[in-house]
């Protein structure tokens, strides 16, 4: 395979990088935990939970990005392209401005997730055409429009809110990996892991879909059913990630492109590699954020700051086209 490193060596490198990221993250944070107390420490429990969340959310967002890029056949596609972020943001903002946000630990994430689901259903329903088919360009357009409408709803809420609520809404939207509840972590992990397994099982179909929907049908796929399955999987993973962490950008767009540059377009390899790379990257970015800044910094800022230059470096090294 010209230019493509052997798959096994890439997986080894990614796993090693992931392990190193986790180890670094365990030692990173505003609190200094003496080595001999590590196993017993409350702080360590918080850190481990945070690392696990980072792995799960990073993997979920990256693989969602891969799925949207394959199905929409557009390199600019990413997990929030169909409006999931606006819907979740609106759900969360409603929870906060209506005072429901604090009612229970699950109210805010629950309403954010509900917002995400409602958006997906709305976008899909709007894009439905003759005979139940959902043409991809219509879906994209529908997603952009719904996203804009919901986004303006969010802006309206913000404009009429008290300054305290504005502060809370904005900070939620900026995204962070704080996790205080094992139950929530479990819920997100289950959704993402199921999504990853399903995607990896049917990754070959993603390859065929990139040929186009009619060619894929000629090769024996049912394009509508395939699209539906993958969109549901990707949207649920994204919805769960956003509900738990707010909007973490950049990961779902850049990790797929970066990994594709190295491992190629075959989704059977790309999907697991992106899961590893996305998880490791987010954990590393969060560890960096926690140590360098005294207060919590929006994680999206750090991912862009760390990931952008690396991606550019990789892009310059490769002269040939990498998309497809």
């Amino acid at each position: 395979m010209t230019g493509r490193q052997s798959t096994r060596s890439i997986y080894v490198v990614l796993l090693a990088a992931l392990a190193i990221a986790c180890v670094l993250a365990v030692f990173s944070g505003p609190v200094n935990v003496p080595f001999n107390q590590m196993l017993d420490s409350s702080v360590m429990r918080l850190r481990v939970a945070r690392i696990l969340l980072g792995l799960v959310v990073g993997a979920g967002l990256s693989v969602s990005g891969v799925i949207f890029q394959a199905l929409l056949r557009n390199p600019l596609a990413e997990p929030y392209v169909l409006g999931v972020s606006s819907g979740a943001g609106l759900g969360a903002a409603l929870a906060i401005t209506l005072g429901l946000g604090a009612l229970g630990t699950w109210t805010l994430p629950g309403m954010a997730f509900a917002g995400a689901l409602a958006t997906i259903l709305l976008v899909y329903a709007l894009a439905r055409g003759a005979g139940g088919s959902v043409p991809v360009h219509t879906l994209l357009l529908s997603g952009v429009i719904v996203s804009a409408v919901l986004g303006s709803g969010l802006m309206f809420l913000v404009s009429v809110s008290s300054s305290k609520n504005i502060h809370n809404v904005v900070w939620w939207l900026l995204g962070n990996l704080q996790i205080l509840d094992w139950g929530l972590l479990r819920a997100v992990s289950v959704v993402v892991l199921c999504g990853l397994v399903i995607t990896m099982l049917f990754a070959r179909n993603l390859n065929v879909m990139t040929l186009g929907e009619q060619p894929a049908a000629h090769l024996g796929l049912n394009p509508e059913r395939t699209k539906r399955l993958f969109f549901v999987v990707a949207s649920l993973m994204t919805g769960a990630a956003v509900a738990a962490c707010g909007l973490i950008g950049f990961v779902g767009l850049i990790v797929p492109h970066t990994v594709r540059l190295v491992i190629g377009p075959d989704h059977r390899r790309l999907v697991p590699a992106c899961a590893l790379a996305g998880g490791g990257f987010l954990v590393l970015a969060d560890a960096f954020a926690r140590t360098v800044f005294p207060t919590e910094v929006p994680i999206g800022v750090v991912t862009a700051f760390l990931g952008g230059p690396f991606f550019l470096f990789l892009l310059r090294r490769r002269k040939r086209s990498y998309w497809g």
């Binding site: 005979g131 065929v208 049908a217 090769l219 990498y322 497809g324």
Partner: protein, 272 residues
């Protein structure tokens, strides 16, 4: 083998095809010709199962097309459509292997046999030496041959082709058509191909189906169907037909100035 019966089909609104039918025997090489917009691609889409007709049916063997599952259909019928994405960074080998998907279990890897079949398909299509090159980095002709190899990897009994030679130079055109003809003769593959070039259609096909505005205008052997009168009435072009000196098949001869439109008076050679 393939029985197309009374197909009326369209894309919502006015039907593009009206009551089109033909029975294609096993091992036959049929050409579809007709002016732009007459419904050739639409007919291929109906026959390949991706477009449901408003009326009529297609039988493959004695089974109705709608009743054959997509995967089973894809094991028997391959279709080279015009709209395969060109911007693929998959290698030629990877794309050809996609042709094996209908034969693979839903969740499973390819076996050595699949690789053998793919290799053979690449040999037939003469793309073996570019197996490791990306599809978006090879020439148009090589790409077309790669897609043909992909279709061949499906091990089809029926091969549908939509303008397989557009954008190709004469060398590639002849290479591809000779390959398909060889497969048709040596392996008994049934071929239905859309042609733009009437001379190619006449040379390679046993029968021609002429479509005009969604209806069957003529159906029969090239020598019976491809006449100057037919071409004038269907295409609105003035030509001369005479036998091809090598194969004796009909050959369409054109000459500059035969279709001049004079201003004011009715157009010479206009559609009858």
């Amino acid at each position: 083998m393939l029985s197309i019966q009374n197909i009326t089909a369209g894309y919502g609104g006015e039907p593009v095809l009206r009551n089109v039918g033909i029975d294609v025997a096993r091992g036959e090489f049929v050409g579809l010709i007709g002016p732009n917009g007459c419904g050739k691609t639409t007919l291929l889409r109906v026959v390949s199962g991706v477009l449901a007709p408003a009326a009529g049916r297609v039988l493959l063997g004695d089974e109705e097309l709608g009743r054959i599952g997509r995967r089973r259909l894809a094991r028997t019928m391959a279709c080279l459509s015009q709209d395969i994405s060109l911007d693929l960074s998959f290698t030629v080998r990877e794309v050809v292997m996609m042709g094996r998907s209908p034969h693979l279990p839903a969740v499973g890897r390819e076996t050595a046999r699949d690789f053998e079949i793919a290799d053979r398909a690449m040999e037939l299509a003469d793309v073996s030496r570019m197996g490791d090159r990306q599809v978006n980095e090879i020439s148009g002709g090589e790409r077309q041959r790669a897609f043909i190899a992909m279709c061949l990897a499906q091990e089809p009994e029926v091969f549908l082709l939509d303008e397989p030679t557009s954008h190709l130079d004469v060398g590639h055109v002849l290479a591809i058509l000779d390959l398909i003809r060889a497969l048709n003769r040596e392996e008994g593959m049934t071929v239905v191909a859309v042609f733009h070039d009437l001379n190619l259609a006449a040379e390679y096909c046993e029968r021609l189906l002429v479509l005009n505005e969604g209806r069957v205008e003529a159906l029969g052997r090239p020598q019976d169907v491809l006449t100057a009168d037919m071409i004038r009435s269907v295409y609105g072009a003035n030509v001369v037909t005479e036998p091809n000196p090598v194969s004796q098949r009909p050959h369409v001869v054109i000459s500059a100035g035969m279709n001049r439109v004079s201003p004011g008076s009715g157009t010479e050679g206009a559609r009858g």
